[in-house]
Symmetry: D2
Subunit: 156 residues, 4 copies
């Protein structure tokens, strides 16, 4: 619901970092039709980290049942977004890179685990590992974020 | 149609580089449900280059009408795939990076232009520029490809 | 000479873009002991581009006569710096990537050619190609710059 | 001493992974005039990891005492090389990226810590963090390695 998001900026930020991360995530998720439409599930979120899952569907594969790299990227990118927006400062992706190690397959439930690597001023670096259903790494993503000077909630 | 693709390997490769690029593209496109499902259109293809277009739909945006980076990446990635598979040697993406310069917007018709930058042995580097409806650059993508030792058509 | 650089900010910026690029380069070069110490030669500079050369010396190679990647990177990085500082706005490297295609060899005179790929706000993307003595590409470098809000010369 | 390196291939590989890593490092180091010439010190090495230090000298800085990015890259690149060559399979850098977070300064003793992030077939991904004298992160480097099909020592 868009109204909720607009009003959020006038709400007080939770003092607890974990509660704050969940509140930021709730605000972002409400707006994120793209991640919702791809069937993503936000499994966990906290200060500087997030875990997102997505099943590889028929619409995501080629004729050989191999997942298009763009969808693996999208999953990692969403996990990245929730991790780098978990401390009340709105941030956007400036630059991202992905290395493909093994194919994603039709029916696989992929999991992307995002962790903060470094923060300096408004810039952040996040590493996102994408695992297949057996827990094998299929891709490694590194995202560079940049804060835009806005917040989700009013600072106490 | 999958059968056509399977049979393709027994067909002779066209001698003309432009005809070969188009034949490789036709074979790949038949299989590429992901690019088809996202509404992509392959506007042009030739030896080492390709141009792919895609409209930004409601399913690709957040509540503010801004395109999820994963879809911009997917468009560039598809243009990259057609460019690096245009000379009869099958190649896959090894590593890709994308820098976001401006947002993609709901209703925009994005165009990704892929050009070969360098080739050395089985490795290739391709630069893909993503433009919005006004021809303004919104993202720059660089893809590193790796040939897998298979071909689309039988070499003459 | 450091004093010259400090005074530069009070000098008027040349109106001609080519003259401005050369003036910015002269100011940077005076300070750049690192590039000087590696024997680099700035062969050309202009708005958004630069060409820098360097010979591969004994101090840069391993026992097999292959140039350490760090020196190939340093040459490309210097060409990048002169290209992204050619329009009077001081900029620094935020993120760089390099792909090695072929080895650099002892005695080779390497040339790095930097070209502007895209600019958006304070961010820029530059592509630098490194060639060996025969004009063969040995590395491809992409640099992301960020302007810091200072200038070399006083704007007219 | 070059002779030692040449003979190394006829020596048996140590069975213990830590001893093997140290033996590979000793063989590489003997050849690595570039790292030696820059005053690097290999502080630690083991299976998949390495730690390398280097002081920022006058020859590495510009007139403002800021270290040229190429030397920070070179330090990280050397740590990467020792980490990805620690298991008897010779590997080279295919692609590397570096993000600069803070400046390196004249007199600083920089330390680069390399850790293995993922391995798949002949490809590997390594993360190298560069710290200044106070232990603050000044750069994050990610290296992609590729094994070349040779070994340092004869496999038992």
């Amino acid at each position: 619901m868009k109204a909720a998001t607009v009003n959020a900026a006038t709400l007080k930020a939770p003092a607890d970092p974990q509660a704050l991360a969940q509140a930021c995530a709730a605000s972002m998720w409400a707006d994120d039709r793209a991640s919702q439409g791809l069937g993503m599930v936000l499994e966990a979120v906290g200060p500087g980290h997030a875990r997102m899952a997505m099943a590889v569907t028929e619409a995501m594969v080629n004729g050989h049942g191999i997942c298009h790299g763009g969808f693996i990227f999208a999953l990692a990118d969403s996990a990245f977004a929730f991790a780098c927006n978990s401390r009340n400062a709105r941030a956007v992706a400036a630059q991202c890179s992905i290395a493909y190690l093994r194919p994603g397959k039709l029916g696989d439930r992929l999991v992307a685990v995002a962790e903060e690597r470094a923060v300096a001023g408004r810039s952040g670096i996040y590493d996102i590992r994408v695992l297949d259903g057996q827990g094998t790494v299929i891709a490694e993503f590194r995202g560079h974020s940049r804060q835009v000077g806005q917040s989700f909630f009013e600072e106490a």
